[in-house]
């Protein structure tokens, strides 16, 4: 069974139709990279999949459970269950500035999932260590670099033990010299078979880490498939044009 199944997702903002029927399957352990020009609807797709936006049509299904069916969002109780399936890492981190890193990571598992605080604390410290932030557990987000904040945000998402993670351009708010440390963490997650959907402009990274590439343009999926094929040998003219523009 696929971890995530999107079927014919449609979304408009007023007159502007941003998603014109997107379907996508993400199998367990799969890493999908979503690429495409600015304004093609990549962020909107993630926001719909993570239930931050209401849909105009289509289905969002996690582990066989409908979060959205025919554009209608499930009831509160089911959503609470379904939200446990995924985490989202934002472009600009969105850590809680008034909490230390440890509290940022621990708070939701304890107060949303109701897990044992002492156990969560150990796991949170372990995750921070994995992200290279063991020294920073008691620091506040404002005391950290962008790259450190983004790794903390990844730890925060992971501590809820989601079945999959979404990333929306996780490095594009970072100085170039800080992107590497975040991409390395994501690559490590891929090696551990974490299911992920990653919106990114980093083509070499997408090619290396993803096993499936989706190229979006104008609210539709123009081309998708194996990274070597889509990036190395694109079939559609729009994909070719997009990749050529990036190379310059």
């Amino acid at each position: 069974m696929n971890v995530l199944e999107l079927r014919n997702i449609r979304k408009s903002f007023g007159e502007l139709e941003v998603l014109k029927g997107i379907s996508l399957s993400v199998p367990k352990g799969g890493v999908t990279a979503v690429i495409g020009p600015s304004g093609s609807g990549k962020s909107t797709l993630l926001r719909c999949a993570t239930l931050l936006e209401d849909l105009d049509g289509g289905d969002v299904i996690y582990e066989g459970k409908y979060a959205v069916r025919d554009g209608v969002t499930a009831d509160k109780a089911s959503l609470r269950q379904i939200r446990r399936c995924f985490g989202l890492v934002f472009q600009n981190f969105n850590l809680f500035p008034h909490y230390t890193l440890l509290k940022n990571v621990m708070d939701a598992p304890v107060h949303v999932q109701g897990r044992n605080a002492a156990e969560v604390r150990d796991e949170a410290l372990e995750l921070l260590k994995k992200m290279g932030l063991q020294e920073k557990a008691d620091a506040y987000p404002c005391q950290l670099s962008g790259g450190q904040q983004q790794r903390a945000a990844i730890a925060r998402a992971l501590c809820l033990k989601p079945d999959m993670l979404f990333f929306d351009e996780p490095t594009s708010a970072l100085d170039p010299e800080l992107t590497g440390e975040v991409l390395k963490v994501i690559r490590q997650l891929a090696e551990e078979k974490m299911t992920m959907v990653i919106v990114t402009h980093e083509m070499p990274f997408a090619r290396m880490v993803a096993d499936h590439i989706v190229f979006m343009d104008g609210g539709v999926i123009v081309e998708e498939g194996d990274p070597e094929q889509v990036i190395g040998d694109p079939r559609q003219d729009r994909t070719k044009a997009f990749l050529r523009r990036l190379e310059r």
């Binding site: 934002f90 969105n94 809680f96 708070d107 107060h111 949303v112 506040y140």
Partner: protein, 218 residues
């Protein structure tokens, strides 16, 4: 009247000033939050009512509001006015007036918090009330300290408006002393001014400390 007697009488009046000040804050700081909730209610008539209330509180003189609260029960309902209503009428008027201002300050503070905070909380599974009380409210408090400080300093001076209904706080007392036979005259006002000034100095100092206490994050 000796200088000592005058200072003693002003100090007694100042105790009343302090009562008005602290009781007003005690009532209006939390009430402001309720007013904010009303302002944001999904129930349109309540929203509308709160908007009208805020605009009246901000659009008419506080002194007039104090009068209305004091005389209203008698003039509108024909109730007889008990002696201690003076003080409580002033407190009531101050609280409902300042709550309106605080509500608007809270609204500004809450609306300045980035949408990303709500979205992060939603994706992490926080409920609406958890999001508000754990994530939004603490950040709001930090953001509103400077404008709230301004209001509090204004309140110290506004307490003198209670003299409009003859609540014997320090300002009323000073006026009484000045017109009494063989009073210390202008010196009385000078001493009253010192009371206000020193107290406001302490208020500003305290609020600066509060602001510093929140400086551990940005």
């Amino acid at each position: 009247m000796t200088f000592q007697t005058m200072v003693l009488q002003l100090s007694r009046g100042f105790l009343t000033t302090l009562s008005i000040f602290f009781l007003t804050l005690l009532g209006s700081l939390p009430l402001g939050l309720l007013v904010y909730f009303g302002r944001k209610s999904r129930f349109a008539p309540l929203r509308w009512l709160i908007k009208v209330y805020i605009s009246i509180m901000r659009g008419t003189p506080l002194m007039l509001q104090i009068m209305v609260v004091y005389f209203g029960p008698n003039l509108l309902l024909g109730l007889s006015i008990p002696q201690n209503w003076r003080f409580w009428a002033a407190i009531t008027a101050f609280i409902i007036n300042y709550a309106a201002y605080f509500a608007e300050i809270y609204r500004g503070g809450i609306e300045s918090i980035p949408l990303g905070q709500y979205e992060a909380a939603a994706v992490l599974g926080y409920s609406k009330s958890q999001t508000f009380f754990k994530i939004i409210l603490p950040q709001m408090v930090k953001r509103v300290i400077p404008p709230v400080t301004n209001e509090i300093i204004t309140l110290v001076k506004d307490t003198s408006l209670a003299s409009a209904i003859a609540v014997v706080e320090i300002f009323t007392r000073a006026r009484q002393i000045v017109v009494a036979p063989n009073s210390p005259g202008m010196l009385t006002f000078a001493v009253a001014a010192v009371f206000y000034y020193v107290f406001n100095y302490l208020v500003a100092f305290t609020m600066e400390r509060v602001e510093k206490a929140f400086a551990y994050y940005r």
